[in-house]
Every structure is written in C-alpha cells, then in structure tokens.
Symmetry: C2
Subunit: 171 residues, 2 copies
C-alpha cells in the first residue's frame, strides 16, 4: 500500500522519470504553498498576541542560533535591508529581548545576544513550530524526512544553502 501510493506501482528505475512531469512539479509547488502557511501559523498566532510579527521571530531565531552574530551577518541571512532589520531590532532591544554589544576587536560592529526574556520568547515560538514539525515527521517517517531535507536543500539559492550548512555545524 505504501509502495503503490508512492510510486503508482512502478519501480523508480533509471528510465522512470515520471516524478519530473509538470504535474508532479505543480503538486510540489502547491504543497510548498500550503505547507508554508501551516509552518508559520502557530508562531504567528503567538506573535500577534504580543504585537510582534514574523520578522521579529526570524531575528530571534537566528540570534539564538548564532549568539554574538553581527548585524551584517544577520542582514545576509535574512536578505532584507538594514533599515528593515533595524526597525525590528530596535523594538526587540527596546523591549529588552535582545542585547547589542560593541565588538571588542572591531568596535564598529555590534554583536547581538538574546536576553533571558528573549530566550523565553524564542523558546515558546520555536517550540510551537517544532510541535507541528514533530507531528509531521512522526507521521511521515524517517525516510520521508530525509527526502524532505534533500529536496529543500536543492531548492535553496546556493548562497543561502551555505548559510544553512554553516548553521548545521553550529554548537
């Protein structure tokens, strides 16, 4: 049943390229669209209560992942302008969720850290997101998860894939 459901009874041989039909690609595109909505739904609800937005979540996430990261590095990861990021960072700093420390080696740079309160919010947000992912992973099983990761990695722009890989090796 699993087999026929996945491959319609055909074996994935070298010549079997049905998974590359426009129809299969369309299904993948629509799946990405609908899944991304679910992916962001739970954090979005929590953020709305606190009058924050997705942009704040992203900043919290990547500062959490890479403590002491610089503004420039964050700009590169997030792919927005410094004005856009600054607005978000400003509110997070003013609200005491993020701390900005002048660099020791290069005192022009600012190194970003989560405060205790910042870590708290980050934990609530990411746990909500993980909960859904965990359920999805469990339903789909480890092999599906491996495929999921592989395809997503290929969809990324090479420059972003580097960031992704770098984060993989973070402590």
């Amino acid at each position: 049943m699993a087999e026929s459901g996945l491959t319609s009874g055909t074996r994935p041989g070298a010549e079997n390229l049905l998974f590359l039909t426009d129809d299969q690609l369309r299904r993948g595109i629509e799946a990405m669209f609908f899944a991304y909505r679910g992916f962001t739904a739970d954090p979005d609800r929590i953020l709305a209560e606190k009058s924050y937005g997705r942009a704040h979540h992203r900043a919290l996430h990547f500062i959490h992942r890479s403590p002491a990261t610089t503004v420039n590095n964050l700009l590169d990861i997030l792919g927005v302008t410094k004005q856009s990021l600054n607005r978000v960072l400003r509110t997070l700093i003013d609200d005491g969720l993020v701390e900005s420390k002048v660099g020791q080696k290069d005192r022009r740079e600012r190194h970003l850290f989560l405060t205790d309160a910042g870590r708290d919010l980050e934990r609530v947000l990411s746990e909500a997101q993980r909960k859904r992912m965990r359920a999805a992973y469990r339903e789909a099983g480890p092999e599906a998860v491996a495929g999921f990761q592989q395809v997503l990695q290929q969809i990324m722009d090479p420059r972003l894939r580097e960031h992704f890989e770098q984060l993989k090796d973070a402590p």
Copy 2:
C-alpha cells in the same frame, strides 16, 4: 508506519527516533525558511518587472488551476480577506489578465477565468518556478521527492490539506 518499516528496512522502534530530535526539527525549520526564499525568488523577479507581487501570482495560479472558480472559493484557498483579494483581482481584471463572469445558476456568484494574456503570464511565472523545482527534484531523486511531498502534506493545516487534495484530482 508499519508498512514503511517493511519497505525501508528501518523499523520505527523505540531506539530509532533520532530523526525526531529537536536538532533535526530545527534543521527542518531552517530548511523550510531558506528553501521558501528560493521557491519564490524566480517568480518574484519576473513579477517585479511588471509591478505585480506574489499576491497576483497566487491568484493567477489558482484561477489557472480551477477555471470558473468563485471569489469565495479563492478566498478560502488563499486565506486572505475579500478586501485584500479584491484589490489584487481588480488590477488583474483591469489589466485584462482575468475575466469575471456572472454565474448562470446563481447570479450572485462571479466565476473567474484567465484571459489569453493571463494564461501567458501564468505560464511564464510557473515555468520559472517549475524550472527550479525540476532541477531540485532531479538532483534529489524520486524517493526524496516522495518524502518531500509526504512531509509537506503533514505540515499543512487539515483544512488546507483538503484544498490541496482536491486540486490533485483536478483535470
């Protein structure tokens, strides 16, 4: 699950749950974030040239997929307010990419269709998106693609999954 155990050789036993660690989940979350950026990058570039946005693309896509769809159905799929959709639809209709026809059975409804010009733009946008997906699929291989679809489907909200399934069976 029992079946995937049979076909894969990995039994989802108590000890083999490493794919559910918080670290694996975090990797999946970041992969979704970076991949979605790539996913939208190519259409976004084309849309920007024509002063359209992602919202226009979404409308074109789903009208293309479900010709004669009603405004209400589109609202449900897209998950935005009618005011938001109307703004987008208005420009598409004014620009001659979408046609709105009064319903025959129920004359309160409007049925939406792409014009030739609308189909042209939809084709350009979706081909750009498919190109990237095709390359990703080819690199990852059919088994990975199957897993990719499975996990995405599980991430969706149930209500959206129904829409997704319904589109699967469309002509």
